[in-house]
C-alpha cells in the first residue's frame, strides 16, 4: 500500500556485506495485545537483522507497523492475514536515528543568534526553524528521523530547544518535549557570530557589540543571570542588566528543575567552570559537545554527568575555527567503559560528518557496535525525554525506521529506505517523498 513499488532490497546489497560477529538472538519483544487483532493493512518488514535499538537484535527479524506506530518487532511473530510483507532480504533494520543536539534546520546559519541579549531562555528555537530547509532531506538521507534542535552557542544562555521529525507532513513534525535550555561556556559565546553583530563590522567582537569578551565574562553573565532570577523570584526585584521578567521566570524554572539545563563546553577548563557554576545554584545538567571529555573523564565519572558528545569533525566545517582542540578519537569508547551516560551528536554536520559517520568513527576507535547504535538511537531519545516515543523498535513507539543496505555505520553502507510514522520519506529509489513531507 504505502510502499507501492515493492522492490527487493537485495539488489542494493553487496554479497557478504552482512557478515557479522555473533549477536545474541533474543526472544521476541512481548507483542502488544493488539497484535492479535491486527488489521490487514499492517505493514510488515522482514530483514536479515532487526536491531531494536536497546541492544536487542533479531536475526532474521520482523517489524510490524500499523497506523504510524510499531506494533511489534521480533524473530517470528503472528502475522495478520493478507498483511503487506516487504522482504528486505539481506538488509538491516534499525530505529530511525536520533540526534539530541542538532544545529541544523534554522533558517540561516546564524538565524538563531539573538543580538538583543545574552540570556534568552524565554525564547523558543521552534520560531527559528525552517521545516522546508534542505537540511532535513540531508538528515533523512543519513537515516536521522528525530532531532532535538538545540540552542545557539552565541548566547551565554540560549533559547529553549525544540524537537522535530525530519520528514513527514509539516503539521506533524513537531514533537513535544520537556523544555531544555543550553548555556555556553568558553570563548564561543563571545567569539561566535562576530560577523553577525554590528557595529563591530571592522573587527572582532568588542564591548560595543557584545559584553562577554573572555571566559570570565561568559561565566559572569551566567552567574549574574541566575542571581537576578533568584532576586526576581524571591523579591520581585527587576534585573539591573535589563533581563526581561520572562527570561528570569524561565531561569527560575531551571532552578526549580522544571526546565532541564545543558552546558556546552569544549575545552577541559570549561568542564570545571561549568561544575563550579552549577554547584553555586544547585543545578544538575547535561554536557553538550564536550570536546575534551577524555581529559575530564574523572570529573564526569565522579559527578555522573551525562554527555552528548561530538561531533568529531570529519570534514571542514563553518564552526571548525571554534574547535580549540580535536577530541580524542576514542572518547566514545572511554565514556562507555567508564559508565558515563552518553550519546553521540553530529551537531551541524550531515553527510560525511553526519550521525552515522559519528557512530562509524566511534566504532573505528573502539566503541562496541551495539553500544554505538544505542548512542544514536535510544540513548539520545532518553536524553531529551523521548524514550517512550522514539529511538527503539518497541510496541507503541513511532514507526520510524531505517533500512540499511549493509551493516549500519559501515563506510560502504547507507540507508536505502527511511520511514517516519510508517511512511517512506526516503524511498528505495533514493528519492525524498514530498507527498509525505
Amino acid at each position: 500500500m504505502i510502499l507501492a513499488p515493492m522492490i527487493l532490497v537485495q539488489s542494493f546489497l553487496a554479497p557478504g556485506a552482512l557478515a557479522l560477529a555473533a549477536v545474541h538472538a533474543a526472544d521476541s519483544v512481548p507483542a502488544d495485545p493488539s497484535a492479535q487483532k491486527l488489521r490487514a493493512d499492517a505493514l510488515v518488514l522482514q530483514a536479515a537483522e532487526v536491531h531494536v535499538g536497546d541492544g536487542t537484535v533479531f536475526k532474521p527479524g520482523l517489524v510490524i507497523l500499523l497506523d504510524g506506530k510499531v506494533v511489534a518487532a521480533g524473530q517470528s511473530l503472528p502475522l495478520p492475514a493478507g498483511a503487506n510483507v516487504i522482504d528486505c532480504g539481506n538488509a538491516v533494520i534499525t530505529p530511525g536515528l536520533v540526534d539530541a543536539a542538532c544545529q541544523l534546520g534554522t533558517s540561516a546559519l546564524f538565524g538563531s543568534a539573538e543580538q538583543g541579549s545574552e540570556v534568552i531562555p524565554q525564547l523558543d528555537m521552534w520560531d527559528a526553524l525552517d521545516l522546508y530547509s534542505k537540511d532535513f532531506e540531508r538528515l533523512v538521507a543519513d537515516g536521522v528521523t528525530t532531532v532535538f534542535i538545540t540552542g545557539e552557542a552565541s548566547s551565554v544562555i540560549s533559547a529553549k530547544g525544540t524537537a522535530v521529525k525530519t520528514g513527514g507532513p509539516i503539521g506533524e513534525r513537531r514533537v513535544a518535549v520537556k523544555p531544555i535550555v543550553k548555556a555556553t561556556l568558553g570563548p564561543e559565546s563571545s567569539q561566535r557570530g562576530a560577523g553577525n553583530r554590528s557595529p563591530s563590522r571592522f573587527g572582532g567582537v568588542n564591548y560595543t557589540a557584545r559584553r562577554p569578551t573572555t571566559r570570565m565574562g561568559s561565566a559572569w553573565v551566567f552567574r549574574k543571570a541566575f542571581h537576578d532570577a533568584i532576586a526576581f523570584r524571591d523579591a520581585g526585584k527587576p534585573s539591573n542588566d535589563g533581563l526581561e521578567p520572562d527570561a528570569m521566570r524561565a531561569l527560575a524554572d531551571v532552578l526549580a528543575g522544571k526546565t532541564a539545563l545543558r552546558m556546552q563546553v569544549r575545552e577541559a577548563l570549561d568542564f570545571y567552570t561549568s561544575v563550579k557554576l552549577a554547584d553555586e545554584f544547585g543545578l544538575s545538567f547535561t554536557y553538550e559537545y564536550a570536546t575534551e571529555a577524555a581529559q575530564c573523564i574523572d570529573l564526569l565519572v565522579a559527578r555522573k554527568l551525562p554527555v552528548i558528545f561530538g561531533p568529531v569533525r570529519t570534514t571542514d566545517s563553518t564552526f571548525e575555527q571554534f574547535e580549540a582542540a580535536q577530541p580524542a578519537l576514542d572518547t566514545a569508547r572511554l565514556l562507555a567503559e567508564k559508565g558515563v551516560p552518553f550519546c553521540l551528536t553530529a551537531s551541524d554536520a550531515s553527510g560525511e560528518g553526519g550521525l552515522p559517520r559519528q557512530a562509524g568513527v566511534a566504532i573505528r576507535n573502539g566503541l562496541d557496535r551495539a553500544r554505538a547504535l544505542r548512542a544514536v538511537t535510544s540513548d539520545p531519545a532518553a536524553m531529551v525525554g523521548l524514550e517512550g516515543r522514539v529511538g527503539r523498535l518497541a510496541p507503541g513507539l513511532d514507526a520510524d525506521l531505517v533500512v540499511w543496505n549493509g551493516m549500519p555505520f559501515d563506510d560502504t553502507a547507507k540507508p536505502v529506505l527511511v520511514l517516519i510514522h510508517g511512511r517512506p520519506v526516503l524511498d528505495l529509489q533514493g528519492k525524498f517523498r514530498k507527498e509525505n513531507s
Binding site: D330, E352, K414
Partner: protein, 469 residues
C-alpha cells in the same frame, strides 16, 4: 651530472637492496581487481616481489617472515597528486617552471608519518594549483630524513593550471600560458641562431641565411645547457619529455585544457587534475583518454541558477558509469576517517561504484597516473615490495594498518607507533626514546656511508639530474 646520477642510484639502492628478503605469510592477499589468495605468501627479495601465491609458495630460508594470519595483505596505496609534506606549496610567480618541489619537501613532516600509518607507500609531491605553470614535482617514498633518500623519481612532472590562479581570469590565464611557450620559443630561437653562427664560424663559413632560417638550422645544435636555466624545464616539457599535471577545476577548464594541449601537441603527456564540477566533462575526458585525478571532495553541490534547485552529484559514480578510470585523493589530511585514502574508496562503494573500481582508484590507477603502473599498484612478481598488512578489509571502517613494508623493509609497525596513542586517546606521552620511535633504525632508510652532515649529493638543477637525462 654523471657522478650525481650514479650517487642517486646508489642511494636508492641503499634504501632497498639490503641483500635480505622478506616474506608475508598467512594473510588474505587482496589485489585491486578483487582477486584474493587465502593464506597467501608474498616473497620480497631485494625490494621487489619475487613470488605471490598460496600456502605452498616456497619461502627463501634467509627471509624474515612476517606472520599475517587473519590479516589482509594489500598493495601500498599511492597519492598520485598531493601537497602533503610540502612547505608553502604554491609559488607566487605565475610562470615558474624553474622551481623544484625538492626545495619544499619537509622530510620530517608528520604528514609523511601519517602516510605510513594510513597505508600510503608512494607520494607524488607536486606544487599546488594556484599557478599558471608550476615547478617540477617528485615521486617520493614517505620516509627518510633527506629528500634524496626519499626520492623514487626526481623531477617527474610539471603542474599547469587551466583554472585561473588568484587574481587572473580565464582569458589572462590562457594568454599567460601561451605567452610562456611563445617566450620559450623566442629564447630557443635566439640561442639556435647563435649556435648556427657558431657552427658556421667553426667551419669557417659565412652566415648566409636570414635569422629565421639560422634559428631553424641551429636548433639541432642546441643542447639544454645552452639555454637560460629558467627555460630548461619548459623546453623539455614542450618537447614532450615531462608529464604535465593539468589542473582543470571546472568542466569549461577541461575543454580549454584539452584544446590547449592539442594545440601544443602535449595531450599525450597530460594527466588531468579535476574539480568536482568537471564531472560534466566526463565525456571529453574519456575521449582524451588520459588519467584523471579527482579532488578530495567527492560530492558536487550546485544550486541551479535558474530554478534555485539544489543538487548533489557523487562525482566518482559519474566517472565509473562513463567507464573512465579515476584516481582518488584523501579529503584533507587528518587522522580521522575522512583523511583516509581507503575511506574515499569505501564512500565510492557506498554510492554504488563497483568494489574493484574503488580499490583500483587508490592503487593501480594511481600508479598508472604517475607512470609507474608496471612498478607499483598491485602485488605481483617484478613489482616493488610495497605491501600493507591490514587488520581487515581495506574498505572496513575499523581496519588499521598493522605493518607496512616499503620495498621489502618494515617501514611502519603499529605496535611501536609512539604518536598513535596520543592521536587516538589524547594522552600525553613520555619523551620519545630512540627505541620506541615508530620509524626507528631498522625501519628508516639505511643511512648512506657518507656522514649525514655532507650536503645532498644531487642538487636537482632545472635540467634535472634524474630520469629525463
Amino acid at each position: 651530472m654523471v657522478l650525481s646520477s650514479l650517487l642517486a642510484a646508489s642511494l636508492l639502492a641503499a634504501t632497498t637492496a639490503l641483500g635480505d628478503s622478506a616474506a608475508v605469510r598467512g594473510g588474505t592477499i587482496l589485489q585491486p581487481d578483487g582477486t584474493r589468495i587465502e593464506k597467501g605468501i608474498v616473497v620480497i627479495e631485494d625490494g621487489k616481489v619475487t613470488a605471490v601465491g598460496g600456502p605452498e609458495t616456497p619461502i627463501p630460508a634467509a627471509a624474515t617472515v612476517l606472520e599475517a594470519d587473519g590479516k589482509v595483505v594489500f598493495p601500498g596505496m599511492i597519492l598520485a597528486h598531493t601537497q602533503v609534506g610540502l612547505d608553502i606549496p604554491n609559488e607566487n610567480m605565475p610562470i615558474a617552471p624553474f622551481v623544484n618541489v625538492y626545495d619544499s619537501i619537509e622530510p620530517n613532516s608528520a604528514e609523511y608519518e601519517e602516510c605510513l600509518r594510513t597505508g600510503i607507500t608512494t607520494v607524488h609531491a607536486i606544487q599546488g594549483n594556484n599557478t599558471v605553470i608550476g615547478g617540477l614535482s617528485r615521486i617520493i617514498r614517505p620516509q627518510g630524513d633527506m629528500v634524496e633518500y626519499m626520492t623514487v623519481r626526481p623531477d617527474y612532472a610539471l603542474k599547469i593550471s587551466i583554472t585561473p590562479r588568484n587574481g587572473f581570469n580565464r582569458m589572462t590565464q590562457l594568454a599567460e600560458l601561451r605567452r610562456a611557450f611563445a617566450d620559450l620559443k623566442a629564447h630557443v630561437d635566439a640561442v639556435a641562431e647563435r649556435r648556427y653562427e657558431e657552427e658556421q664560424k667553426k667551419k669557417e663559413e659565412k652566415v648566409l641565411v636570414l635569422p629565421d632560417e639560422a634559428a631553424k638550422q641551429g636548433l639541432a645544435h642546441v643542447t639544454i645547457d645552452d639555454l637560460d636555466a629558467r627555460w630548461r624545464t619548459l623546453w623539455r616539457a614542450s618537447k614532450g619529455e615531462i608529464p604535465l599535471f593539468v589542473h582543470c577545476d571546472r568542466a569549461m577548464d577541461v575543454s580549454n585544457g584539452i584544446a590547449w594541449l592539442r594545440e601544443a601537441k602535449l595531450l599525450e603527456k597530460a594527466v588531468f587534475v579535476v574539480g568536482t564540477e568537471a564531472h560534466k566533462a566526463a565525456g571529453a575526458l574519456k575521449q582524451a583518454g588520459r588519467p584523471v585525478i579527482l579532488s578530495g571532495a567527492l560530492v558536487h553541490k550546485e544550486t541551479d541558477p535558474l530554478t534555485g534547485k539544489e543538487s548533489e552529484v557523487f562525482v566518482p559514480k559519474v566517472f565509473a558509469d562513463a567507464g573512465l578510470p579515476f584516481v582518488l585523493q584523501p579529503n584533507g589530511f587528518a587522522f580521522n576517517a575522512d583523511g583516509l585514502l581507503w575511506y574515499q574508496a569505501a564512500r565510492c562503494v557506498r554510492e554504488g561504484v563497483a568494489r574493484d573500481v574503488a580499490l583500483k582508484s587508490v592503487t593501480q590507477w594511481a600508479a598508472d597516473a604517475i607512470g609507474m603502473g608496471d612498478t607499483l599498484g598491485s602485488i605481483a612478481p617484478g613489482k616493488w615490495g610495497n605491501v600493507a598488512i591490514l587488520s581487515g578489509d581495506p574498505l572496513d571502517q575499523a581496519t588499521v594498518v598493522e605493518k607496512l613494508l616499503l620495498e621489502g623493509r618494515l617501514a611502519y609497525d603499529r605496535a611501536t607507533d609512539r604518536r598513535l596513542k596520543e592521536l587516538a586517546t589524547g594522552q600525553e606521552l613520555a619523551a620519545p626514546s630512540a627505541e620506541a620511535a615508530p620509524t626507528a633504525a631498522p625501519a628508516a632508510p639505511a643511512a648512506p656511508a657518507a656522514p649525514a652532515t655532507e650536503p645532498p649529493a644531487a642538487p636537482p638543477a632545472g635540467g634535472g639530474s634524474g630520469s629525463g637525462k
